[in-house]
């Protein structure tokens, strides 16, 4: 898939803005129903806990991930929401990103995107000289 098409997919999905978002999504793509404590999840994906917490919120807010309602329980059940409106685009992106080269290409595309305004916590640094990509509404091929 060309960088242009990856950029288009990211525009359609909108919510992904940093590598941790992508890697968490990839983790849940492989483990669509995971019952874990967040520290362990952070170890699995290899990011700091605050960053993972931020990305989890992003994915849940975007409707890509569901979390068990009992927030007081030390472990949470995370379920990838395959039926979300973004599901088709997310699947296309993850099929690309599950290979090493594809993941690197998506990360590169993420770096070139303008920063998303988040409610708080960690925010990606803007990449100098990045050109905004005009979103298209067609479903791209994987």
């Amino acid at each position: 898939m060309t960088p242009k098409r990856i950029g288009d997919l990211l525009d359609l999905i909108e919510c992904l803005s940093c590598p941790c978002d992508l890697d968490l999504l990839l983790f849940f793509y492989r483990h669509p129903r995971a019952f874990l404590i967040s520290e362990r999840l952070a170890q699995y994906v290899g990011y700091d806990l605050p960053q993972v917490a931020q990305s989890l919120d992003t994915l849940i807010t975007a409707g890509l991930l569901r979390r068990s309602p009992n927030a007081t329980h030390p472990a949470q059940l995370y379920v990838l929401a395959r039926g979300s409106p973004l599901g088709g685009w997310v699947s296309s992106l993850l099929r690309v990103a599950e290979k090493r080269e594809g993941r690197l290409a998506v990360l590169q595309a993420l770096k070139q995107r303008p920063p998303l305004r988040r409610s708080g916590g960690v925010e990606s640094e803007p990449v100098a000289g990045a050109q905004p990509v005009t979103p298209t509404r067609e479903v791209p091929n994987a």
Partner: protein
């Protein structure tokens, strides 16, 4: 005692060994080293439950990713993704510590997930001995886990890893707590390997003891073959025919007269002789005679592939292909390399039960001996089992056996100690007269029938097959009484020149 509520595993051959299935609610421990098939067994248990028995299930994974499990299951034709979408299966990735903790909590989200789909079966993949995970007493920790599973009324299968370096794992403390233990192993046989499965214990029901063979078959899953020695139904033991009137024609001109009109129905006949003595020709004529009478016959060939058997039959005027096409003959070939005797027997058993032959030929018994080891108990056990199978189904069976001695026989069966299991023995010999080896046939044993044990000349003619030649000189020779010889049991009797005065 009421019949237990048994959970059918749905795995081919396993429920037969478990005498119907696993008592509902049992905690089943599946032990074995890496690569023995624990995951396949557990996943198939849950898959079959959801697919065939309307029992939703949960698979708990600690190390394997769900997508890989789904991919691997697809090789067996199991669509786990479809079951998930239909709400009949959940794959949950977690850690061992969490799993252990959650089972001790009544409001566990993990258990709520199982309850949401009404799960009746659970498979936990990759349990290790619990002290490694909890730092506590292994037996006690496993007991807590088992109690949690009992509370949920799940029939749970837990794959417990044992290592090559830790043979003591086979007696893990968890085994004392579990209700059912299934031990999987891989053992080297020559340069091949054989998978085996043993139900070590199972509370609440009976099961077949011993190590049974199994295979992991692409597109199918596990196929378990009950060990050949395991007793079958009592009917099989009682199956020997008691029919003193019916005879099964041999198909060899001149032979029926020597065996009182034919073999008994469901009798076992051994034809012994060196290679080339005419055993396979006799077998083909026996099968052809059945086809001529409209009787179904099974021919198991281990030494020659079907094309060669068909050619051989054609050379003695038998159109075996035509009989096969008419459904009168089932020709089954299995090359003897890397023989798995339990599986082989299960296949013969299935053919006999489905095809229902009246006659059978096994060519040859000595090939089993060379694969299993003639002196081994397994060979005798196999032969005993196949004889019992044929008798139960009233199949008149002929077994060829190659004796290595070219001229004469010092022993009928050599190191194959099975002659006591057979009803009839026919010896095929070469006799060297002048510059020619001529075929000789002796009926050495006919159980429950008289036999003269005289040696007859045979002839095999191209396009016609074998026939036993008449013995016109027999009447001309006087029968000399034992008293006319000395050294009768010394293997070299000599005839007295004259019979002396009668001794009172």
């Amino acid at each position: 005692m009421p019949d237990p509520d048994l959970v059918k595993t749905g795995l081919k051959g396993l429920d037969e060994i478990l005498f119907g299935g696993i008592p509902r609610g049992n905690i089943v421990l599946v032990t074995g080293t890496a690569g023995t098939g624990k995951t396949t067994l557990g996943v198939e248990f849950v898959y079959r439950g959801a697919r065939q028995f309307n029992e939703p299930g949960v698979i708990v994974l600690f190390e394997v990713a769900s997508d890989k499990l789904i991919r691997d299951a697809a090789l067996f034709g199991w669509d786990l993704g479809e079951l998930e979408r239909d709400g009949r299966l959940k794959l949950i990735f977690t850690t061992r510590q969490l799993f252990q903790q959650e089972l001790q909590q009544a409001d566990s989200p993990l258990l709520a997930e199982a309850a949401e789909i009404g799960a009746r079966r659970l498979f936990v993949d990759g349990l290790v001995r619990l002290p490694e995970a909890t730092g506590g007493d292994s037996r006690d920790a496993f007991h807590l886990l088992a109690e949690g599973l009992h509370r949920e009324n799940l029939t749970a299968m837990l794959a417990l890893e044992s290592t090559f370096a830790d043979p003591a794992a086979a007696r893990a403390p968890e085994e004392f707590v579990a209700d059912t233990i299934v031990r999987l192993s891989i053992e080297p046989v020559q340069r091949a390997v054989l998978r085996s499965l043993e139900v070590v214990k199972s509370r609440g029901h009976e099961y077949a003891l011993g190590r049974h063979s199994f295979r992991i078959v692409n597109g199918q899953g596990l196929e378990v073959y009950r060990r050949v020695q395991a007793p079958r139904s009592l009917e099989r033991e009682r199956g020997a025919a008691f029919d003193p009137t019916s005879r099964v024609a041999t198909g060899i001109p001149g032979l029926d007269g020597l065996v009182n009109g034919g073999y008994f129905v469901a009798s076992t006949t051994l034809v012994v002789g060196i290679s080339g003595a005419g055993k396979s020709v006799m077998a083909l004529q026996f099968i052809a005679e059945g086809a001529r009478r409209g009787e179904k016959s099974l021919m198991v060939t281990l030494d020659e592939p079907p094309a060669q058997v068909l050619r051989n039959a054609h050379s003695i005027g038998i159109d075996l292909q035509s009989a096969i096409d008419k459904g009168l003959v089932h020709l089954w070939y299995e090359p003897p390399q890397e023989f798995e005797i339990d599986r082989h027997f299960a296949q013969i058993e299935a053919i006999v039960e489905d095809f229902r032959p009246r006659r059978a030929v096994i060519d040859s018994l000595s090939t089993y001996g060379s694969s299993l080891g003639a002196a081994e108990r397994s060979f005798r056990d196999f032969f005993h089992a196949i004889v019992a199978l044929m008798k139960e189904h009233q199949v008149t069976a002929v077994y060829n056996h190659e004796n290595p001695e070219m001229l004469g026989m010092s022993s009928m069966m050599g190191e194959f100690k099975v002659s006591s299991l057979v009803d009839n023995i026919i010896l095929m010999n070469w006799v060297e007269l002048g510059d020619t080896f001529r075929h000789a046939l002796t009926v050495a044993k006919m159980r429950a029938m008289p036999t003269s044990r005289t040696t007859h000349e045979c002839e095999i003619t191209n396009g016609q097959g074998m026939k036993v030649l008449p013995r016109p000189i027999r009447a001309a020779l006087p029968v000399v009484p034992f008293a006319g010889y000395f050294g009768l049991i010394s293997r070299a009797p000599e005839r007295r020149s004259t019979v002396g005065p009668e001794v009172p």
